[in-house]
Symmetry: C2
Subunit: 259 residues, 2 copies
């Protein structure tokens, strides 16, 4: 299935699953849509927090069609699950933004760690959530963000159990992709970043951490959803964690040499 076919299946209501493992050559992205009056502050928030919020494309106002990540994908309907925030409260998950759409929405597409998963797999590093067809485990942490009022709070991270002898390789492989979260923010010892129960992720599904594996944590584009809880905008829309925008742009375009 190409990314275009996947987005079409979503628009027809025929695909409803976390997107990890699909279209492995293609970049995936987190979505934040909010009224124009908050857009500059949110963009500043992204610039100040590039690890969790790497801005890949901005769309709107007065348009919901992508151009950089895909040619003309409609952000109102091409993601499998949207999450609606009303006055800072995540009120419901919907298929298609539909009635919640406003002409003054600005859409932000932020890099997603699913984009570097294929590089890990090609290096022989297994990823349990893909093997088990689960959503990746995500956790709220105590890692502080740089504030850009009204946006502030703590980082959300994704976690992958990695065989101990491949942990450093995983760090270096993903460091080559700074536009899609890059290197991990933490290795091992969940309690040091405020995660009290690794078996109970705040978003996504739990996965087993087997003997000889170490939990490795990457900055996650669900981070703005935590910031939205505090910002209490009258209306905002995001993707549902794990249900990403899948673009036509290719992960290899986000590969950088480290010098």
């Amino acid at each position: 299935m190409t990314a275009n076919e996947l987005r079409a299946a979503i628009e027809r209501g025929e695909f409803d699953a976390p997107t990890a493992g699909y279209c492995p050559d293609n970049v995936q992205a987190n979505l934040v849509a909010l009224p124009r009056e908050y857009a500059d502050d949110f963009e500043q928030f992204c610039k100040q927090n590039p690890k969790p919020c790497p801005l890949l494309e901005k769309v709107g106002p007065n348009s919901s069609l992508t151009s950089a990540l895909a040619d003309g994908a409609d952000l109102k309907r091409c993601i499998a699950r949207y999450k609606i925030f009303v006055d800072g409260v995540p009120s419901q998950e919907v298929k298609g933004i539909g009635e919640f759409y406003q002409d003054d929405f600005v859409f932000f597409l932020l890099g997603c760690s699913f984009s570097f998963e294929d590089a890990l797999i090609k290096a022989g590093i297994p990823l349990r959530h893909i093997e088990e067809k689960k959503n990746v485990s995500m956790y709220t942490t105590n890692i502080p963000l740089a504030s850009a009022e009204p946006f502030k709070g703590e980082m959300v991270v994704s976690m992958r159990p990695i065989p101990a002898e491949r942990v450093v390789d995983a760090c270096i492989i993903t460091a080559h992709y700074p536009g899609v979260h890059g290197a991990p923010v933490h290795v091992g010892y969940p309690e040091l970043i405020g995660i009290s129960d690794i078996g109970k992720p705040d978003f996504g599904d739990p996965v087993d951490i087997l003997p000889g594996e170490i939990p490795v944590f990457w900055a996650c584009g669900v981070t703005p959803q935590n910031a939205l809880l505090q910002a209490k905008l009258p209306i905002a829309v995001t993707h549902a964690p794990g249900y990403m925008f899948v673009g036509d742009a290719r992960n290899e375009d986000y590969y950088e040499i480290l010098d």
Copy 2:
């Protein structure tokens, strides 16, 4: 003190300390000297185990003078402490190889992690053994080596406690120096590599691991000394752990772009 001055002080018997932190711009190296008949096998052992045994220069037989790492440094006397192995038994530490020298010795200089310590410090990552003027902590592990008979065994690692939020930076910074051990071989969880008591290093000094710090392990050029225990050569000479050869070559010459 320049590297040349340091080596001269050693030859005069006026310097007798671990070399970490000295001549921070200069490459440091591990020494293994053994009779010519074992040299090819040992060189093969190094090639098969490039993380712990990165070969920087080979000298001899019939000469003990360096050319690549320094111009004409005498490896018989320019290291502060030598360790003499007789029939595989480390029998004594000496200043100067002296009476143990044989014309047929081949000297191997192997990269040392002290060479990337200045890059870590310049990145704001503190190194406790340098702050406390101690020898770095080194441990025998259960990480197997590729055998090249009679050389075989398990890897020795050096350990540095790193603030949790800088661990990934430390991995990437040191990955740029593959000739001097490069990226860590393990992060955290000493028991996973067969270290039962982190407070009791097999070589060097213990250092405190403070709350919020994670022990990070790099391959160590003391590894051949473990292999010598099993190889049981009639005679072999190494540096004493932490008392390194300090060359005129500069660490920046060993920096590599990661692509």
